[in-house]
């Protein structure tokens, strides 16, 4: 790789001239990295510079993922370490890589509206480098909140929050089913918070999923009221509402299913389980609150688009209960 400043300057110039091919067509690029001649960290740095000028460049993001994959595979050091008796967390080196990627994605997202390539890279990093570590997911949820509130029509940014919440749900379900098999109980746990209390002696970070979703709904309400007429915000609300009910429905069925395996007398639940899985039943209180919210918006808003989105949301809610 380039050693002198001049070589770096020429390289950046080449990149600027032909971003499409800078990381793609060079036949030796991959060989150079694989043979150890080219330093992958420096390559990542070059990519970071290129992204300041071409924040969307698909080739740059694709190449970046390839380099990251080499990095986590190549070394003899583990990328994950065991903590306690429950799970693994990313090693320090991996954490640093993850943090850097979060930063690069954040900058690229700010440079181009709804930068799908940047946000999907961010998701990829969480899936493949961070392995959906719960603490990292929670950190990302809180650290991207302000950005989302300042980019209210950035669909990709809000989709990221939906991904984080969905992942937290799936990770918690996995964890809680593991815990349930380990805990001694006489009755099935129906509500997640109770599980958390039962397993409080373990080291797992406690997360209260219903509370997180509630907070996201409040966040959505706040934004919709402050910034009328943005479809992205209403789409986001639909996703959160759906997650709340999917959570209620499938948590229930998951808990029951685990018990069903251990206790044959509970096999009678299996029919119930199947019904729940097929039709998540939105709780009537939640629906009522949403309808009241829509009423409030319609009665006070003066923005034509806002009224249109509120009405569309109402229609969507009706289809849910059918």
């Amino acid at each position: 790789m380039a050693e002198t400043n001049e070589e770096v300057a020429v390289l950046v110039q080449r990149v600027v001239k032909d971003i499409t091919n800078a990381f793609r067509r060079n036949p030796h690029m991959k060989e150079l990295i694989l043979s150890g001649t080219l330093n992958p960290i420096k390559d990542l740095h070059l990519g970071k510079l290129a992204l300041t000028k071409f924040p969307k460049s698909p080739e740059t993001w694709i190449h970046r993922r390839w380099v990251l994959q080499q990095l986590i595979q190549e070394t003899s050091l583990p990328s994950f370490v065991t903590k306690g008796n429950l799970g693994t967390i990313p090693a320090e080196r991996t954490q640093r890589l993850i943090q850097e990627e979060m930063e690069v994605c954040g900058e690229a997202a700010g440079r181009y509206p709804s930068n799908y390539n940047a946000w999907s890279h961010r998701i990829w990093v969480l899936q493949h480098l961070a392995k959906l570590d719960v603490k990292i997911l929670l950190d990302e949820l809180s650290s991207t909140k302000h950005w989302a509130s300042m980019h209210v029509s950035d669909h990709s940014g809000f989709h990221y929050r939906q991904f984080l919440l969905k992942s937290l749900i799936s990770q918690t379900v996995i964890d809680s089913s593991v815990m349930e098999q380990n805990c001694l109980r006489s009755e099935p746990a129906l509500v997640l918070p109770k599980d958390e209390e039962a397993a409080a002696s373990t080291e797992e970070p406690r997360i209260n999923l219903p509370h997180l979703l509630e907070e996201e709904v409040e966040f959505s309400t706040d934004l919709i009221d402050s910034y009328p007429g943005h479809e992205t915000l209403w789409c986001h609300r639909r996703h959160i509402f759906y997650l709340q009910h999917h959570l209620n429905g499938s948590q229930l069925s998951q808990a029951m299913e685990v018990d069903g395996l251990n206790d044959s007398s509970k096999q009678g639940y299996s029919q119930e389980t199947k019904r729940l899985k097929r039709t998540p039943a939105p709780d009537s209180l939640g629906l009522e609150m949403e309808h009241r919210f829509i009423d409030q918006v319609l009665s006070t808003c003066r923005n034509v688009e806002q009224a249109r989105f509120a009405n569309a949301y109402r229609k969507w809610l009706v289809t849910l209960s059918q």
Partner: protein, 191 residues
């Protein structure tokens, strides 16, 4: 959501005079910045020129929204924002700025003023603070006294022009735009 410029102008009978302006062009690439700034001045002046006294309007141009308020006493303000920035807050800002300006700068100075001669320094601070609408204006959600139905909406800059007038002609005739900016306008076709 972003604010790009905030300007105070005077709508004279013969022409529009720029009194003071503040810009935030940090999101543009380095080489574009001076041209962008000139275009924002050009646009602000044009909009005030084509708006009647005692009106408020929002003019859409690509991803930008230009909000203008021309007072009955000919003092005018223009805010250039992106399409996420809430227009209600933009108009609150304009009202506040023009009110403050008219108290600090004598009326007699308005028709003949220029950014160099006018003594009003609060504009940069206002622009910076209002970048975050909720910090600057916590009452955003409260219904403003302003009747939003009276704000004129223009979907393009073109709709401000007279029949037969072309934006290209106005650009090439403009005294506000430098040669580089005019060339930039031709190649990129953007404001």
């Amino acid at each position: 959501m972003k604010l790009y410029s905030l300007s105070v102008l005077y709508k004279g009978d013969a022409k529009v005079v720029l009194l003071k302006a503040a810009h935030d062009v940090s999101s543009f690439s380095f080489f574009q910045r001076s041209s962008v700034q000139e275009f924002m001045t050009f646009t602000s002046q044009l909009i005030v020129e084509r708006s009647s006294k005692g009106t408020r309007a929002s003019v859409k141009e690509q991803d930008y929204l230009c909000h203008v308020y021309v007072r009955n006493d000919s003092l005018a303000g223009v805010v250039i924002a992106d399409n996420e920035y809430p227009s209600r807050v933009a108009f609150t800002l304009l009202e506040k700025v023009l009110d403050e300006f008219s108290k600090q700068v004598d009326r007699i100075d308005w028709p003949v003023g220029s950014p160099a001669t006018i003594n009003y320094t609060a504009l940069e601070g206002h622009l910076s603070r209002y970048q975050n609408p909720r910090e600057a204006d916590p009452m955003t959600k409260v219904q403003a006294e302003l009747d939003e139905t009276k704000i004129i909406l223009h979907n393009t800059m073109e709709s401000l022009l007279e029949r037969g007038e072309k934006l290209d002609d106005l650009v090439s005739k403009s005294e506000v735009l430098g040669t580089q900016s005019k060339a930039f306008y031709k190649t990129d076709g953007c404001c």
